[in-house]
């Protein structure tokens, strides 16, 4: 199986094949290694590569893999090559295009800090949302322009609700 994985600012081609029971041949951007990988929990693995041992724990939601290795989180966006070719997608370019800004949890809009047409910078506050007894500033993921504002102060928000669109 071949995947396109985005980690940090870069894309990688990752190929993986189970050559015998729980032994995998893995290639990352062409450099190959053998990996002894045992599943030790629902999303927990014990990996041994060249006698180096790793415990990894993986939190998956759709195509996002949060991989915990050695106390560090790796956020990986993974698409299988076939699906990418079919869909004509390019992994990892999202952050340069149209951004739908949302909040992961239900809450209440306290204030909207920008209007449609405003130029915003990456990290600039867009909306203040109250959730879990705290006020949270939702910031712009990119440098761009506010294309659409979907909420106003006082609105109640469902989890995942779109607040605005920045492009």
């Amino acid at each position: 199986m071949a995947y396109i994985a985005k980690l940090g600012e870069r894309n990688y081609t990752v190929e993986v094949e189970e050559v015998e029971k729980s032994i995998y041949r893995v290639s990352v951007d062409g450099s190959e290694f053998l990996l002894d990988g045992k599943k030790t929990g629902r999303t927990n693995y014990s990996l041994i590569v060249d006698n180096r041992s790793f415990e990894v724990d993986i939190d998956v939601s759709e195509d996002d893999y949060r991989v915990l290795v050695d106390g560090r989180n790796y956020h990986i966006h993974l698409l299988d090559e076939r699906r990418m070719r079919l869909g004509g997608l390019q992994a990892g370019i999202e952050l340069q295009g149209r951004q739908r800004v949302s909040v992961p949890m239900p809450g209440k809009v306290i204030a909207v800090l920008v209007s449609e047409g405003d130029k915003v910078e990456r990290g600039q506050g867009l909306v203040i949302v109250e959730a879990m007894k705290m006020e949270n500033e939702v910031r712009s993921p990119i440098n761009g322009e506010v294309k659409e504002v979907k909420v106003k102060a006082g609105d109640s928000l469902e989890a995942g609700a779109a607040l605005l669109v920045v492009e």
Partner: protein
């Protein structure tokens, strides 16, 4: 001693109190909101009462409902934990009126310490240094006059304030007018008390506090100091005991001063005097918390006293069994508060279902955890889900052990600040103890998200293997279904054919 204690709280602190009660052979009564039916504190308690809907104003803050449960359940005492009603004098008073023991100080003491201006005055009178500031100010002109005396920048604060609300920094005279209006209106709306005062602004002080224990018979001891300077959004996230900032002399001094302060208000129970420490090692009284603190566990580990049990015993009228000179701290303890939040998205809370949970274990590790694998972190309450308390023979060992433990910690399903704690614990300034309350603002923004990937290949391979397994499980499910379908399909097809054949025969 009490027969049955109601715990007017939830989460890790409710579990922690239940544990203490169980070890004292006291029955526990949990209350829970509709969002908390499955919570750990409900599972661990001996009795459990639904107290209202999810919003805390209708459940954990609903004094009348809680009192009803106290009576129904036959509890003879109430432990308020921290937060919610822990510093609510109305609740303490209502308990007293109903002849129920409120495990905490008297409502009068809660009131005195809740009013920041009054608390400052009492401490000042008791000879305790307070941050230079004013009395209650009634107009912009009075603020200007006080500002001339104290100097800029200063903090304009609500007298009834707390929890990071109702305050503004004022850098120059022309900022007085807007700040005055803002604080006044926030104070009125948040605390129902528009009074305000000003306080000198200390540039990046360290936050030091002293733990006090006092019995009903006039004995007051301190259980040494803690440092809680690692904060974000005015909220402590890492606490230590003893405070690395203090030397032997300062430690003795601040302990003595804290006892003086507790005596001045006639304090009973466990309480904390908070101080700010400036660069010249001057300390100033900030406020007194008339309750158990989140961070009490670091003190427990270093002095070897179960503070919740001490609270309960003091409330039951017992004499404190310890003499000050018997309280000797051993080693060093650090606490990391584990929040359901996303440090990479500006610490946005992250409620949800905990799909996986593995706590760190071993020598020197204590987990105070309010959740379990499969539990929901509700959106209605504070996002702190657990505390990790580490002890070491000295501060260096404690830091190294904390790093080891954080590495073992696994939470799946929701995001947490564990990686953020790792970042702090690896920071050279934290390691040498060179920090103050501005540490996170100064350092975290600057270095930003670390894009360091030491085990890039392993992580990428893992994701790919997990994807492969997902794909396979999907295929297996389809196949399995297919197999039973096929056999059934064959059977049905065979029957149809037979029927058809039969039909044809008939027709022949």
């Amino acid at each position: 001693m009490f027969k049955r204690i109601l715990i007017a709280n939830r989460g890790e602190i409710a579990v922690r109190i239940i544990r203490a009660c169980r070890e004292l052979d006291i029955e526990t009564v949990a209350i829970y909101s509709e969002a908390d039916r499955d919570a750990l504190h409900v599972k661990y308690a001996d009795h459990a009462y639904l107290v209202g809907p999810a919003p805390s104003t209708e459940s954990y803050l609903a004094i009348d409902r809680i009192l009803d449960v106290v009576k129904k359940s036959g509890a003879d005492a109430v432990h308020p934990g921290y937060g919610f009603l822990a510093e609510n004098s109305d609740f303490a008073r209502a308990c007293r009126d109903n002849k129920i023991v409120f495990i905490g100080p008297s409502p009068e003491v809660i009131d005195q310490m809740g009013d920041k201006v009054k608390a400052r005055a009492i401490m000042k009178e008791a000879g305790i240094p307070v941050v230079p500031g004013s009395e209650v100010l009634d107009s912009e002109e009075e603020v200007e006059k006080a500002a001339d005396q104290i100097g800029y920048p200063f903090m304009l604060k609500a007298a009834a304030g707390g929890g990071g609300k109702g305050l503004r920094m004022v850098r120059s005279a022309r900022e007085i007018t807007p700040a005055y209006r803002a604080v006044r209106s926030e104070a009125a709306s948040s605390f129902g008390d528009a009074r305000l005062y000003l306080e000198k602004y200390l540039v990046h002080p360290r936050h030091i506090e002293v733990q006090i224990l006092a019995d009903q018979h006039g004995k007051v001891i301190h259980l040494y100091d803690r440092e809680c300077s690692i904060q974000r959004r005015h909220q402590k996230i890492i606490e230590e005991c003893l405070a690395p900032a203090l030397d032997y002399k300062a430690r003795r001094n601040i302990g003595r001063i804290a006892i003086q302060g507790a005596r001045a208000v006639g304090y009973v129970g466990a309480g904390t005097l908070e101080f700010l420490l400036d660069r010249e090692m001057n300390f100033y009284f900030l406020e007194m918390n008339t309750r158990l603190q989140v961070e009490h566990a670091v003190t427990e580990r270093v002095v070897g006293i179960d503070m919740v049990k001490a609270q309960i015993e003091v409330a039951a009228g017992a004499y404190l069994p310890w003499k000050q000179r018997h309280i000797s701290p051993t080693g060093h303890a650090i606490e990391c508060r584990i929040y359901a939040e996303d440090p990479e998205r500006d610490f946005m809370p992250c409620p949800g279902r905990i799909e996986g949970l593995r706590l760190p274990e071993g020598l020197g590790v204590r987990n105070d955890c309010g959740v379990y694998e499969g539990a929901e972190v509700p959106i209605h309450y504070d996002p702190m889900i657990a505390k990790l308390i580490i002890w070491g023979e000295n501060r260096v060992e404690a830091i190294l052990r904390m790093r080891r433990a954080l590495r073992e910690y696994q939470v799946r399903g929701i995001k947490t600040n564990i990686p953020f704690h790792q970042w702090i614990l690896r920071h050279p300034r934290f390691m040498v103890g060179d920090f103050n309350t501005g540490f996170i603002d100064e350092e975290y923004g600057a270095s930003g998200t670390e894009d360091v990937f030491p085990h890039k290949e392993i992580a990428l391979a893992s994701a790919a293997i997990a994807a492969l397994h997902r794909e396979r499980e999907r295929a297996a499910r389809i196949l399995e279904r297919g197999a039973t379908e096929t056999s059934r399909w064959r059977e049905s097809a065979r029957k149809t054919v037979l029927r058809t054949v039969g039909g044809e025969r008939k027709r022949q």
